[in-house]
């Protein structure tokens, strides 16, 4: 399909009336219009009402026709405009200068308000001659080639492939001579800032600024991946080559994730899609420093907001979690002893999170099945280390820094590590292995006064524990007395394919014992 779409207002509107008639499903309009293309010169505009009538009659099929007919190379150049724009044909023309012309997003159908650039047939600097296809545009109806109306050089592409631009907005600049290319390029840069507002999804500037943000992370992580992760792919030439599945690569590209920083969990340490998604949950916090704060203050009610990459990743993860048959077991644990211990060692920099992680890790050490994970539905892995991931809300998002080997590291080191991780998370400097290697997750909403809730199991892990607030509770004891104890409710969500009710019950029993008698936590 060829559409001439250069801003020249004097172009007559040519409508191929044959095609208008053809698809009208009822076939009654056959005789209304002449069979030759009608040229709608200003004098003939009286025909417009007729077309208008037709349009109302069978808008969709007619439009289809318009599109079809112009597929043929011999078809007249259509400069189609929706009815409203007939009344203001010149107003949207943005001719800069005589010699640098703008290529506009054409209106390919009467309902089209914006178009997506499918592909640029020509690249910047290419010589164009009149009638050549320059770009393929996708409208709400069809993909069409847009051809140039002038000879010249494609000086600057202003909307990249995949980008969306409003009808009538400039998508590229055409220079008449080679010398003017530079001039046009600078012009394009001037305009690109305003343009990026209308063509947000494609706007190249944000992408560029993202990269410097991410590169340091990547270079630092590379060696770390090799040493820290035992499961580095054997084929990766000791980290020189990245082995990632096709979908993982695709996702990484889409989500702007550097694969060299992603830890592979697939067969033989290969990076699979899940790993990229895990990475993006935290990586997004790194890669999108500006977005979340801007959302919070000025939320426009009733607006539809597309997911950020992080929200997209979270969404995918959450939906994926539906494929795992989970169940929940709750337990009420008395925390008086733990509270006392916490009060005692708090001055030494110990945090409650570290204490809970430590207690959980010690309980997990006795129940390795709760620390296992099932990925393929056919087998499961007893994870070699106990890495406690702790969910942390950050900038409206969510990240899960990981306390690695929480069962082995002493409580003081663990607390220091936790502080470090939280600081890093706030500064968006977490490295992938610091948020993607968890084997068991803790989610604590106690600080908000939540007394109980249940958590969704992150795909790829065996269990997650939701921790409520510890509150003074009236408790009856076996000897018939009533007393006051601080109690908190925990609720574990687990993958029932590998972890059964009895496993969780025993694990919780152990955990309660550890918390109620916390001497082991400090060694």
């Amino acid at each position: 399909m060829k559409i001439n779409e250069f801003g020249n207002a004097s172009v007559d509107i040519i409508v191929s009336s044959i095609s208008l008639v053809r698809t009208s499903p009822c076939g009654r309009l056959e005789h209304l219009l002449p069979r030759r293309p009608t040229i709608l010169t200003p004098e003939k505009k009286s025909l417009a009402p007729l077309i208008c009538l037709l349009r109302n009659r069978s808008k969709q099929s007619m439009m289809a026709q318009l599109l079809n007919s112009s597929f043929t190379p011999t078809s007249p150049c259509l400069r189609r405009q929706s009815m409203p724009s007939l009344t203001q044909p010149t107003s949207r023309k943005l001719q800069i200068q005589a010699k640098i012309r703008e290529i506009f997003m054409p209106a390919l159908s009467s309902t089209m308000t914006e178009g997506k650039i499918v592909s640029w047939v020509k690249s910047e600097g290419d010589k164009l001659s009149k009638g050549e296809s320059v770009v393929v545009v996708e409208s709400d109806k069809a993909d069409m080639d847009v051809e140039t109306f002038y000879d010249g050089y494609l000086a600057a592409i202003m909307v990249e492939e995949g980008g969306v631009a409003a009808v009538g907005s400039a998508i590229a600049l055409l220079a008449e001579t080679e010398d003017e290319i530079a001039q046009a390029t600078s012009k394009a840069k001037e305009q690109s800032s305003s343009l990026s507002l209308s063509a947000a999804p494609s706007s190249p500037p944000p992408v560029e600024t993202k990269i410097p943000d991410f590169v340091p992370v990547a270079t630092v992580v590379k060696p770390a991946t090799v040493t820290a992760v035992a499961s580095t792919h054997p084929a990766s030439d000791r980290g020189k080559r990245i082995v990632a599945s096709p979908y993982a690569k695709k996702l990484a590209k889409e989500l702007n994730i550097d694969l060299s920083g992603v830890v592979g969990s697939g067969p033989m340490g290969r990076i699979v899609a899940k790993d990229v998604e895990v990475a993006v949950v935290a990586g997004a916090a790194v890669a999108e420093p500006t977005k979340p704060p801007s959302v919070a203050p000025g939320i426009e009610l009733g607006s539809v907001v597309p997911f950020t990459t992080m929200q997209g990743a979270v969404s995918r993860n959450m939906v994926e979690s539906l494929g795992v048959p989970t169940f929940r077991v709750g337990y009420t644990i008395t925390t008086d002893a733990l509270d006392a211990l916490y009060k005692k060692i708090k001055p030494k920099g110990v945090t409650m999170t570290a204490l809970l992680a430590k207690a959980t890790a010690l309980a997990l050490a006795k129940h390795p099945v709760v620390n296992s994970s099932c990925r393929d539905g056919k087998s499961f892995t007893y994870n070699s280390s106990i890495n406690i991931a702790v969910a942390v809300a950050i900038d409206g998002g969510l990240i899960t820094p990981v306390l690695q080997n929480a069962d082995k590291v002493d409580i003081y080191s663990l607390s220091r590590k936790w502080k470090e991780l939280v600081d890093k998370a706030r500064a968006k400097q977490l490295q992938p292995q610091e948020y993607s290697t968890g084997t068991f997750t803790l989610s604590n909403l106690g600080m908000f006064g939540v007394d109980r809730f249940d958590a969704i199991l992150p795909p790829g892990t065996g269990a997650i524990m939701a921790v409520g607030a510890s509150e003074p509770t009236v408790v009856a004891t076996k000897d018939g007395r009533i007393g006051m104890k601080s109690q908190m409710q925990v609720n574990v969500t687990a993958d029932h394919r590998v972890i059964y009710g009895a496993d969780l019950a025993q694990f919780l029993e152990t955990l309660a014992k550890i918390i109620e008698d916390p001497k082991d936590l400090t060694f």
């Binding site: 399909m1 095609s19 053809r22 698809t23 499903p25 056959e30 005789h31 969709q60 099929s61 439009m63 289809a64 026709q65 599109l67 079809n68 007919s69 597929f71 043929t72 190379p73 011999t74 078809s75 499918v118 109806k141 069809a142 993909d143 792919h233 054997p234 084929a235 082995v243 599945s245 096709p246 979908y247 993982a248 690569k249 695709k250 697939g266 067969p267 033989m268 290969r270 699979v272 899609a273 539906l322 494929g323």
Partner: protein, 574 residues
């Protein structure tokens, strides 16, 4: 109304004076001088029987149709009586779709026919090709639809997570193959075709022996012999096929595993179809293609769009311009390794380590042990050289009398229905009517979701031909996005493209990418076969709303210069 109908039909007919005398033959002779059809080329219409090898249902219908002809034939058995001094009029080596099509047509022509099969009736198409792969693709199409949440939501449907049982899917493919195989066998048996079991070998002119390898062999004589031994998957040097992790289409169709990550070597239609199956079942796919572009062989524009729909949004990546020089199956806990070199510089490019590799680099003719040396025939890269009438050519360039070769073994057009059409063409010849098959009218289809189909020339081929022969070509295109039925199905992705001569309205090629493209192509292939011109076919009426309107639009959007007046063109007041 009636007169105008026959007029438009006959004026476009390219049927030559040798026509077998149907109702239109006199008319076509009258109009013959006015058409510019390639003389002496006559297309042999594929009939229902010829297609039955690749159709899943309608066997009952088929048998009903054939029985009457059974009675009409003079012989007691239904199979003809052989010519004097011969055991058979026609012996066909190979009971694939090509051999089957030839056998059925031979019986109809009153020839005493035998078919020799060393393996199972049905050949590649039925047992290891088109048929079981369609079963898998039927599953993948549904899975894809059910998994596409956006697609379901746009219908207002809610579907819980779709899953599949691998064995159940594999059984479906196997059951279908068995069913079609039985249909084929029964159709031949009921007509009295002798099915001889064993490996057939040509021992001399008009002599064939057959029998189990190492067992007793029987010598038979036949007036004419057709070789229809087909092909096997081509495995390049350096590739070690173990049938488990490094497989060919033969193994893949059994669907014994669904690997997490599979490399498909070759992005032709076999590779494409399997990528469709595997990605729908949850695998990730990497294509390895020796040429610079994926999907060689397809019209470039269709290929480009198909890549945008079938490759880019799916869990597929690819390496183009590379050869897989060495493929080692998974063993001792090591994955499948694939060494890639640059196709041009021959320098090592990359090494892939994956769960499985499917070799889909094409098919090689199966012509070994045929005894071709006994009739002085040398194969060319395994293919048996034939002329345009499928007559076998010997090493001195002379025709071997009474010996024909059809189907994949001659390499002219490696498609089941082409083999069948060639077989029918040969039977026409041996029963006394000259016949040449027009290969440009044979459609081909790739059953991805959505499907790709084509007939005739691609745009570059047409441009080359146009330049050589000094005519102009034009391109017409229509989009599925403008089709009501396609939109109702939420399947607006796709285009139809026609390459034609604006001077006389001849259709040179049609390419369709979109929903049910494989079924839509036949309007175009029939038009090419019958020589129908655009200016005539554009007045044919299509039901609304149907996908066929995409093709209707295609014909209507073409601009043919010579304005052929036609009675139907005048609006008729109702």
């Amino acid at each position: 109304m009636q007169s105008s109908f026959s007029l438009s039909l006959s004026s476009a007919s390219p049927i030559t004076g040798r026509s077998d005398g149907g109702a239109t033959s006199t008319a076509s002779d009258l109009f013959f001088s006015t058409t510019t059809a390639p003389s002496q080329l006559r297309f042999c219409g594929l009939r229902r029987e010829a297609f039955s090898g690749c159709k899943s249902s309608n066997n009952a219908l088929l048998l009903k149709q054939l029985r009457p002809s059974n009675k009409i034939s003079a012989s007691l058995s239904g199979n003809g009586t052989p010519s004097k001094g011969f055991d058979y009029d026609l012996v066909i080596i190979g009971a694939g779709v090509g051999g089957h099509g030839a056998a059925l047509h031979a019986v109809e022509k009153g020839l005493k026919t035998a078919i020799i099969e060393g393996d199972v009736v049905g050949g590649t198409c039925v047992n290891r090709g088109c048929v079981p792969s369609k079963a898998l693709l039927a599953v993948s199409g549904r899975m894809r639809e059910l998994q596409n949440e956006h697609h379901m939501k746009s219908f207002g449907l809610q579907v819980a997570a779709a899953g599949y049982d691998r064995q159940g899917v594999a059984d479906h493919a196997q059951n279908l193959a068995t069913k079609i195989r039985n249909n084929l066998t029964n159709s031949m048996k009921s007509l009295g075709v002798d099915i001889l079991t064993g490996v057939g070998t040509v021992v001399g002119p008009q002599k064939v022996k057959y029998g189990k390898v190492g067992g007793s062999e029987t010598l038979i004589t036949a007036k004419d012999i057709i070789i229809a031994t087909g092909s096997v998957p081509f495995v390049p040097k350096g590739v070690e096929v173990d049938g488990k992790t490094v497989i060919t289409s033969d193994h893949a169709l059994k669907l014994e595993t669904v690997p997490e990550w599979i490399v498909i070597v070759g992005s032709g239609y076999i590779g494409l179809e399997f990528s469709d199956v595997y990605t729908a079942l949850g695998s990730e796919v990497t294509f390895v293609e020796a040429l610079d572009q994926l999907m060689p062989g397809f019209d470039p524009e269709i290929g480009k769009l198909a890549q945008r729909v079938l490759i880019n949004p799916r869990k597929i990546d690819y390496h183009t311009g590379v050869f897989a020089t060495k493929i080692t199956p998974a063993r001792d806990g090591k994955p499948v390794t694939i060494e890639l070199i640059d196709a041009k510089t021959k320098e090592p490019k990359d090494t892939l380590e994956v769960d499985a590799a499917l070799i889909a680099t094409g098919r090689a003719p199966f012509t070994q042990g045929l005894g071709l040396e006994n009739v002085n025939v040398e194969t060319q890269r395994g293919f048996i050289p034939v002329d345009e009438r499928m007559r076998v050519i010997d090493s001195k360039g002379k025709l071997v009398p009474h010996l024909y070769c059809i189907g994949d073994a001659n390499g002219k057009m490696m498609l089941a229905h082409a083999a069948s059409a060639q077989g029918i063409s040969v039977v026409e010849q041996v029963s006394g009517k000259d016949h040449v098959l027009n290969h440009l009218s044979i459609p081909a289809a790739c059953f991805t979701h959505p499907e790709i189909s084509m007939v005739g020339l691609t745009e570059p081929q047409a441009r080359e031909k146009a330049e050589k022969e000094g005519f102009e070509i034009s391109i017409a295109k229509t989009s599925f996005k403008a089709n009501t039925k396609a939109l109702a199905e939420n399947e607006g992705e796709g285009i139809a493209k026609m390459i034609y001569r604006p001077d006389n309205g001849e259709i040179l090629g049609v390419h369709i990418f979109g929903m049910h493209a494989a079924d839509l192509i036949h309007e175009a292939s029939n038009a090419i076969a019958l020589g129908t011109r655009i200016q005539d076919i554009k007045y044919a009426v299509h039901a609304h709303p149907t996908l066929s309107e995409v093709i209707d639009e295609l014909f209507k959007s073409a601009k043919v210069k010579s304005d052929v007046p036609s009675a139907v063109a005048e609006p008729v007041a109702v």
